[in-house]
């Protein structure tokens, strides 16, 4: 009996909260409609994905590799990102660069986004500013694991 009463009380509380939010938000929206400036704004639902919020300037999204002026990757294959990566998702294979001024370049650079936790340590570790996470691509869902393994071609785009 007491238990059933408890349910009933909680139900009423829930209805009260919903009603309160509706009335409060409606109140501010109505004031706004009549051009009355208030400090507090009414809550708005963003219709994602049709409508997108601006990302913060220091957000972290899909990685990209930077290029030199001549189009080669800026990466020098020092593997410091591989070293710092806590989820072991970066694999680099370095190759001798034919240019005598450049020691090595990455012949493969793979980021396994299945494992990546988007901590951004790779960006911080990079001594050449060759990797950045500022593409603003955050909708990365795929239907297969393989589609989430990004190689040089995708990362350099």
């Amino acid at each position: 009996m007491l238990k059933a009463l408890g349910y009933f009380v909680e139900l009423l509380r829930g209805i009260w909260i919903t009603t309160r939010h509706f009335v409060v938000n409606m109140w501010f929206h109505t004031l706004n409609l009549f051009g009355i400036k208030t400090k507090r704004k009414g809550a708005v639902t963003i219709q994602y994905p049709e409508q997108k919020k601006d990302l913060a300037a220091r957000h972290r999204s899909l990685h990209r590799l930077m290029k030199r002026e001549d189009g080669k990757p800026r990466c020098v294959a020092c593997m410091l990102c591989v070293t710092v990566c806590p989820s072991e998702c970066i694999v680099i294979e370095a190759t001798e660069d034919p240019d005598p001024e450049i020691q090595k370049y990455p012949s493969t650079f793979v980021i396994d986004l299945n494992r990546c936790c988007f901590c951004g340590f790779c960006v911080e570790a990079c001594p050449e500013d060759a990797i950045r996470m500022d593409t603003a691509k955050i909708d990365l869902a795929q239907t297969s694991h393989d589609a989430l393994i990004f190689g040089l071609d995708k990362l350099l785009k």
Binding site: A77, V82, P100
Partner: protein
């Protein structure tokens, strides 16, 4: 004996010892680039300076001999100041490209900068531009910017190999290491220059850029490419989760053992080992019959082989089993083979197929190109080469260990001869034409993937350890042999107790005390 005081601590050392060696014996590390225990002290890096009481200037510890009652200070403020000065001069010309330098992580210059430097450079001049990729040997690349001119490489080629390929040219800021008439460094020990170089100036193309040293796990082992049994470190990387087959051995380095190889190993072993470890590996268990090749489970294959052997045993015809062994096998495995086949089943046809002997070089490399011929001899095996005429008519089941039987060929006569033998079982770590002829192919572990001991040509019994993880469906021979012994119900109580190679070694020493002298 002379009594000296190192940083106030009294130390007794033999007469004629240098201050550097005395400090080393007392456990005091003195920084150095040019000093190496195998060479005569050169005193060119000026980093091992110490303060000696009564001496007006700082002295070089690597070339100063101790005197009775000498008071040496290795860490006084003057000494530290002097070392910092020396480091600053070296770093004034050093490119500081540590992030792309293969030595970073195990570089002496990095370590000493941590210990003594940590200062901003006062030099405002541009650094000298030098060549960064000079090929000085078949596998060696010299970076002249990184070089600190310790001349260890020059002295190695002058004192150890006596081939004198490199020298120090020009003077002052223009001084550089180079070859005479650009002759390449071409001797069987050129790989040691990479280990000798205290900075990343000399790199070899085998390891260059492949990985970074801090990813590698180091394991102690024995070089299997000749019967010298050089002590080595195997640097192994366990691989990345999403890249199949990325687990591999990246390099081989000498492990100092003055009784066997000193601080050196030959190029034959250094570069040959990695090829052996990675190329042509036998990866899957196979049962061949006509056109059909089915992959079986280990249990099924061992039961089938066990049944064939048991059938012969019930008819009392176990002498119709023959063995072709290799001395790539460890002492423990040879002992198990002896126990199971020679003592247990009474097998008499035992042959050894080994890689062909090569030329000896008079230093480390020996002509026997397998690690354990001495061990097999001490075990009581007669190391005779396979005799096809004796083998074929008397054999119903042939066990072949190792891939070398095909190599000794008899001009390919082994192939039709093997066809006449009803059951052929190949236990091998490497694939070759033998695999297509054999009825069963059992993938076995290579020497870096199993535990055991090897006996070198001088009778020294040395341990090898499983360092690299076996990435394929492979098993060590000792396990295959023990499983087989269990399958054919051969003295269960004896073989049941021998689960690990260590237990086998214990049993081996009990029977043949020669193998007890494990250093």
């Amino acid at each position: 004996m002379a009594k000296i005081f190192l940083d106030g601590k009294p130390v007794e050392v033999a007469e004629g010892t240098t201050v550097f060696k005395a400090a080393q014996q007392a456990g005091i590390a003195i920084p150095h680039f040019c000093y190496h225990p195998a060479f005569v002290p050169e005193g060119s890096c000026r980093l091992c300076l110490v303060e000696i009481e009564g001496s007006p200037k700082l002295e070089l510890s690597c070339s100063t001999v101790v005197r009775e009652g000498m008071k040496v200070s290795t860490q006084s403020p003057t000494v530290r100041e002097a070392r910092r000065g020396v480091l600053e001069f070296i770093l004034a010309e050093h490119p500081l490209d540590c992030p792309i330098c293969d030595k970073a992580g195990e570089c002496k210059l990095q370590d000493y900068y941590q210990d003594y430097g940590l200062t901003e450079s006062v030099f405002r001049e541009f650094k000298e531009k030098r060549e960064k990729k000079v090929r000085i040997g078949d596998k060696l690349i010299l970076d002249r910017e990184r070089c600190v001119l310790c001349t260890r490489c020059v002295r190695f080629l002058a004192e150890i190999t006596k081939t004198h390929e490199l020298g120090l040219f020009e003077r002052g800021i223009h001084a550089e290491i180079g070859g005479y008439e650009n002759e390449p460094v071409r001797n069987g020990y050129s790989g040691n220059l990479v280990d000798l170089c205290p900075v990343g100036a000399i790199t070899d193309t085998d390891f260059r850029f492949k990985t970074r040293p801090w990813f590698l796990t180091k394991g102690e082992s024995i070089c299997p490419l000749c019967s010298r049994g050089c002590n080595i470190y195997i640097d192994y990387h366990p691989g990345f989760p999403r890249v199949p087959g990325s687990a591999k051995v990246y390099r081989i380095r000498p492990r100092t053992n003055d009784a066997v190889n000193g601080p050196w190993i030959c190029d034959h072993g250094r570069y040959g080992f990695i090829d052996l470890q990675q190329k042509n590996r036998c990866q899957t268990l196979v049962w061949n019959k006509g056109e059909r090749t089915a992959e079986w489970s280990w249990d099924k294959v061992l039961i089938t082989i066990g049944e064939r052997v048991k059938a012969l045993r019930e008819n009392g015809k176990t002498n119709r089993i023959s063995l072709i062994l290799t001395t790539w096998l460890t002492n423990e495995e040879l002992f198990l083979i002896k126990k199971i086949f020679k003592d247990g089943l009474g097998v008499r046809n035992v042959f050894f197929a080994d890689p062909a002997p090569g030329p000896e070089d008079g230093f480390l490399l020996r002509s026997e190109r397998t690690p354990n011929r001495r061990g097999a001899r001490e075990m009581g095996f007669d190391l005779k080469a396979p005799d096809l005429n004796a083998l074929v008519p008397d054999t119903d089941i042939l066990f072949i260990f190792g891939p070398h039987f095909a190599g000794i060929s008899h001009d390919g006569a082994w192939k039709p001869a093997l066809e006449k033998i009803p059951v052929k079982i190949l236990v091998t770590s490497h694939l070759n034409e033998l695999a297509s002829t054999a009825d069963f192919v059992l993938p076995a572990a290579f020497l870096a993937e199993k535990n055991g001991t090897l006996t070198n040509a001088d009778g020294r019994v040395q341990k090898i350890a499983a360092i690299a993880r076996a990435c394929f469906d492979i098993r060590p021979e000792s396990q295959i042999l023990l499983d087989l012994a269990r399958e054919i119900r051969l003295d269960d109580s004896y073989f049941g107790a021998l689960s690990a190679p260590e237990a086998v070694h214990h049993e081996l020493v009990k029977e043949i005390p020669f193998f007890g002298a494990l250093p």
